[in-house]
């Protein structure tokens, strides 16, 4: 048994493995498989100021070693989240990261302000969603917009603030630096890569939304590269994700510079994926006689 505990922005985690936002709902379904207290933390489904219904179906497409989704931030709204889901989650003896999003910087700030008066442990701000005031371009695709929304949310809360970066950019390190400068306590990456599939028989896109976010093992090498680049560009800690499906994948992302790791699509392949990844990481550390998982963070030896 290696020491799996990590500390992120002053928040202690019993282990570094966190189911990613959007794949785990509010944990209720997966509790049928294992106690949620096994997990390092839980990133909840993205929550917005008002209830959102999401996109029309089909919302899911399979791709080689991955999948596309266009769920579209379906959620009951921040008030319902705080009233109906958060109290239950906070009894589960695991770190809760409330993932938030909005159509404007003001909406994101308002959601964060409401969470500020709860006992939630961390806020994860998703900046991959469209900014309606900027013609629908995602906040996360320009340094100015990313900085602006981070600053607005920073003013609204004292909670540890994790800004979740979009990989659909020319230079993710510039965005990471921009949000660090505006007071982000950590960054998480990567969100999904924009993709598309077409049914060649019907000539229709498989997703009703035409395009969707690519996740799963297919994006793992992109995640490793981006985590490594961002680790070399900022001083704040990183939560890595993108295609992690084994304990060794988690170790790899941590060596690239991540202090904790989120698990997305792997939960669909195997509902036990997060606990198997925790056990796999532990086994990897034991086999290699590494006493504590902290000791591998950012230890890649580049050529």
């Amino acid at each position: 048994m290696a020491d799996l505990s990590v500390n992120l922005c002053g928040v202690p985690f019993k282990n570094p493995i966190i189911p990613a936002s959007g794949v785990f709902g509010y944990g209720r379904e997966y509790e049928a498989f294992y106690p949620l207290s096994r997990l390092g933390g839980i990133a909840t489904k993205g929550t917005t100021g008002q209830r959102r219904t999401g996109n029309l179906a089909p919302r899911i497409a399979e791709t080689p070693a991955g999948m596309l989704n266009s769920v579209g931030l379906q959620n009951p709204g921040i008030d319902a989240f705080i009233e109906k889901e958060l109290p239950n989650l906070l009894t589960k003896d695991t770190v809760i990261l409330a993932n938030i999003a909005g159509a404007t910087a003001e909406e994101c700030a308002e959601v964060a302000a409401k969470l500020d008066s709860t006992d939630v442990h961390m806020i994860e701000l998703n900046i991959s969603c469209p900014n309606v005031k900027q013609g629908g371009a995602a906040f996360g695709t320009s340094c100015e917009m990313a900085a602006q929304v981070t600053a607005a949310v920073r003013r609204a809360t004292k909670k540890p603030l994790v800004v979740k970066l979009s990989p659909n950019v020319t230079s993710i390190t510039d965005i990471a630096k921009a949000v660090e400068a505006e007071g982000a306590d950590a960054v998480s990456l990567i969100n999904t890569l924009l993709g598309m599939r077409i049914d060649v028989r019907t000539r229709r896109p498989v997703l009703h939304n035409n395009v969707g976010g690519l996740s799963g093992p297919a994006i793992f090498p992109v995640a490793v590269r981006m985590v490594w680049q961002v680790a070399n560009a900022v001083k704040i800690p990183i939560i890595g994700m993108g295609g992690v499906s084994s304990g060794e994948d988690a170790a790899e992302l941590m060596m690239a510079g991540a202090s904790a790791v989120q698990v997305g699509m792997a939960c669909f392949t195997d509902p036990y994926a997060p606990v198997k990844i925790i056990d796999g990481l532990d086994a990897f550390l034991d086999q290699n006689k590494i006493p504590a998982v902290r000791d591998i963070i950012g230890t890649v030896q580049p050529w």
Binding site: G22, V23, F24, G25, R28, E29, Y30, A32, F33, K45, T53, G54, N55, L56, A57, P58, R59, I60, A61, E62, A65, G66, M67, N69, V71, Q74, G216, P217, M265, C267, F268, T269, D270, P271, Y272
Partner: protein, 257 residues
């Protein structure tokens, strides 16, 4: 909700028709929990997403569940390549199944093509109180009629080209005739246009009707919101429900087609 995930041995495999297979799995805990209309979420080896397949037979005494599936793509092709003795990775039983009506005197089970298999557990429950109307494109796809009859159900087969069965054309022909005589409930599974036609007929005649819907799925347990379907609540307000958890079975009047 109590579901399990694990690998379970295939103890029987049969080819039923062109590219259509029946498999029986030994999985006692799931067999004890399964209800008609629920499904299994099955992982073909080498794929990242599971495939939803309806439960076509439940035997809690033997601890077995049966599935019947058609090869429609890579995943079902991989499943079709599995043999007796192989272990299948299954999450289940999942979903909200059919409402069973102990008092019903006459129910109609409408299955279209690969929508026929989930009608079998209903036939086992209702026995001679059920009439199964099954529609297929041609004689090549006809499946499970002996199994339905063995449960005591009356069977009516319709083929679009008239190459087999009692009636040329769609299932709605025989169904309409029965509805005019009064039916306690209609249960339907099959292609969207068929379900819609069946639902319309039942709503028009005031007959209780439940339909089993399909949607592309990821988690299969209600967490990812991937399998949304548009429905209306009692007040007629539109809402998204999820085929894997709230369904796959819905009341006909709930669905927005």
């Amino acid at each position: 909700m109590s579901y399990t995930q694990g690998v379970f041995p295939i103890i029987e495999k049969r080819a039923l028709a062109e590219d259509t297979f029946s498999m029986t799995l030994h999985c006692p805990a799931m067999a004890a929990a399964a209800q008609p209309g629920q499904f299994l979420h099955i992982l073909p080896a080498g794929y990242g997403l599971r495939r939803p397949i309806s439960i076509a037979g439940i035997d809690p005494d033997k601890g077995t569940l049966r599935i019947v599936f058609a090869v429609r793509g890579k995943g079902t092709d991989a499943l079709a390549g599995m043999n007796v003795g192989d272990f299948m990775d299954v999450l289940g039983p999942v979903g909200h199944g059919f409402t069973l009506l102990p008092e019903a005197q006459h129910v109609v089970l409408v299955g279209g093509g690969i929508g026929v298999p989930p009608m079998l557990p209903l036939a086992a429950y209702y026995g001679a109180r059920a009439t199964a109307v099954s529609g297929f494109r041609s004689f090549r796809q006809v499946i499970l009629q002996d199994d339905l009859a063995a449960c005591g159900a009356q069977t009516i087969v319709c083929t679009e080209d008239g190459s087999a069965g009692d009636s040329k054309g769609f299932v709605t022909g025989p169904l309409e005739a029965m509805l005019s005589e009064g039916v306690d409930a209609v249960y339907a599974c099959g292609p969207g246009p068929m379900l819609r036609a069946v639902a319309d007929l039942c709503i028009r005649t005031g007959t209780y009707c439940e339909v089993s819907l399909e949607e592309r799925m990821a988690c299969g347990v209600g967490a990812c919101l991937g399998c949304a379907c548009r429905t209306k609540d009692e007040n007629g307000n539109e809402q998204y429900l999820h085929v894997c958890k709230n369904g796959p079975v819905f009341k006909a009047e709930e669905v927005i087609w």
